[in-house]
Symmetry: C2
Amino acid sequence: MAQITGKATLLFDRPPRIIGAASIVGSKESDGPLGHLFDCIEEDPKFGKNTWEEAESELQLRTARKVLEKTGLTEEEVRYLFAGDLLAQGIATSYGIMELQIPLFGLYGACSTCGESLSLAAMCISAGYAGCVMALTSSHFASAEKEFRFPLEYAGQRPLSTTWTVTGAGAFLLASEDFLSSSPSSVCITGITTGKIVDYGVKDSMHMGAAMAPAAADTIARHLHDTGRTVEDYDRIITGDLGSVGQIILKDLLREQNIEPGDRHEDCGILIYDPNTQDTHAGGSGCGCSASVLASYILPKLRRGEWKRVLFLPTGALLSKVSFNEGHSIPGIAHGIVLEHC
Amino acid sequence: MAQITGKATLLFDRPPRIIGAASIVGSKESDGPLGHLFDCIEEDPKFGKNTWEEAESELQLRTARKVLEKTGLTEEEVRYLFAGDLLAQGIATSYGIMELQIPLFGLYGACSTCGESLSLAAMCISAGYAGCVMALTSSHFASAEKEFRFPLEYAGQRPLSTTWTVTGAGAFLLASEDFLSSSPSSVCITGITTGKIVDYGVKDSMHMGAAMAPAAADTIARHLHDTGRTVEDYDRIITGDLGSVGQIILKDLLREQNIEPGDRHEDCGILIYDPNTQDTHAGGSGCGCSASVLASYILPKLRRGEWKRVLFLPTGALLSKVSFNEGHSIPGIAHGIVLEHC
C-alpha cells in the first residue's frame, strides 16, 4: 500500500485524491492578501452564537457542510472524520461536528493538527479502509487568546514576535481513485513524513515561531533524507505558522544542514495577513491558518498545475496554559504532507 | 487489507498482533481487586516530580519504557506512537514521551483514547505502514481533578454517581505477523468499530457514566449490526469506565434494542476498585482505567485462551471545564476493538 522509507516517511502506492476543499474565515482574514480566495467570510466574530467556543464550533460545522456542498456529497458518504482544534479537550470539534454523525477520530497536534489529520486520512484511504473521509481543523482568535493567554478584555500588549491566531477553518475530502471518477480534482497526497517532538527550550509563549521552527527543520531534513530528494524536487516548501521571525530561524537551522530552500519556502502565517496594514506582527497562526491557506491558495495552484509538487508542513506548539505557568518550555511538532498535481 | 462492513466497522484481513503490554498504576489502584496484576506500582503520587502534570508525564514515559523492556525492543524499532491523555492540549503526552523521539500522532478522545489509539495503531499495522507501533494512554487522579473539577485542597464532596479517575497508564506494542516471529503473544485485533458522538443531554460532570452509556450502547449496537454477530459471539463485552451506575443505564439502553449482554458485560471502572472498601463510589474512570485493565487483566485471559473473543469499548466524555461552565451537555464517544485469542 505504501513504500516505507527511512524513519518516518510513507510514499503511497495508491495516492489518495483531495476531491474537495473548503475554507471559512473571519473578517480580519478577509482583509488580508488572500481574502478573495476563501469560500466564505463571516463578519460576526461570534458566528451568531453566545460564546467564543460556540463560535468556533459553528465555524467548524459550517466549513464541513461547505465542503460537502461543494462536492455534492452527503455526510453519510463520508466514512470517517479526522478532526481537531486548539481548545482544551478539543471542544470546538466535539460540539461542532456532533450533528454530522460521522465516526470520529479526535486529534490534538496544536497548529500541526491539519497535517496530522491529512496524514491519517491519507493512510486510511490508501489502505482501502474507506471510499471517502474528511479532515477538518479550526482555530478562532478569541477562543485561542482565552485558552492560551488572556481574555481579550485585558487588552494585553503583544511583542513583535507574536503571531495572531487565525479565525478560520479548512475542511478536506480525501477519496480513493475509484470514488467519484468524474471528480475534477487533480491533487493527490503522495506521501507523508510524520513529525516527532522537538524542544530547543524556548519558553516564551509570545514567540511560537521560535518554538516551532526546530520541529519544522527536523521534519524537512528528515523528509529529504528519507526520500533522497532535494529542495529542488519541490516547487514550494510551505510551513504552517512560523511567521516572519520563525522563518528566519528555520532558514538558519536548515542552513546548518546544507538545506537552502530560498524563495521556495513560504509560510501560511506570513501569507495570510498584510504585515504593513494589519498589525498582526509576525503573522498568523492556529490550526485554521494552515488549513484555510491550503484550501484557498495552495490546492488551487496545484490543481491548475502551476505547482507540480509541494511539501506542506503544518507546525504545532505543544504548550498549554498550565505547562506555561509551571515554567515548562514549548515543544514543537511538524507533520509533512507531499501534495502533487496528478 | 480489511473488510469494510456497515457504517463504521473494519474487519482486518491481516489482524495485527499485540506483542506487548504494560501497566503502571498508583497505590489506590494497587489496593484494588486487580492490584496483583499490574506490572509496577508507584506509591508516590507525584512520581518523584514537582507537579501533578509532570507526575502523569513521568507515569506515561515509564509505562512506555516498561513495554519496551518487556518485549526486548528499543524505541528505534517502534515506527509510530499513537498517544493521548485527558489534560488540556495533551501535555502529559507531549512532555512524557518527548525523549523517546518516536514520530507521534497525538490523540484526544477523553477516556476513549485507549480505544482510539488501538484502532489507529491496528489500521496502521494491518495496512503495512509499519512493522511495530505503540499505543499509549494515561490518566492521573490529581491532574484530572484539577483539570475538570476542583483542586484537591478544596476537599469537595463527591456524589455517589461519581467515578474516581485512575492513576495509571497502559502501553501496547502492535506488530505485523512477520515482526518478531518468536513472540509468545497470542492476542490479535481482528476488527474495530469507530464511535461517533452521542449526546443525550446529560449535564452533570459528576455523573459521567450517564453521559457515556448512550455512546457505548450505540457502538455496541452498531458493531453487532455491522458484523451480523450477537452478544453470544463474545466471551465478554467490556466497557471502559461507565461505573456501576452507567452500567445499569447501558443495559437499559441495550434492552430497548433487544441486546442482552447479561453477565458477559464487564466494565473496567467497576473491576479496578473494591466498592466496599475503597470509597470510590461508582468506580474508576480515565484513559488509564481501561488501558491498565486491558494490559493487566483482559489481555492475559485472552492470551491464555480463557476467553476467545472480547469486544473492548473504551468510553469517553467529551467535556471541558469551559464547556461545563458554559452550561453545555456532555457528549460521549466509544470506540470498539475486537480482541481475539490467536
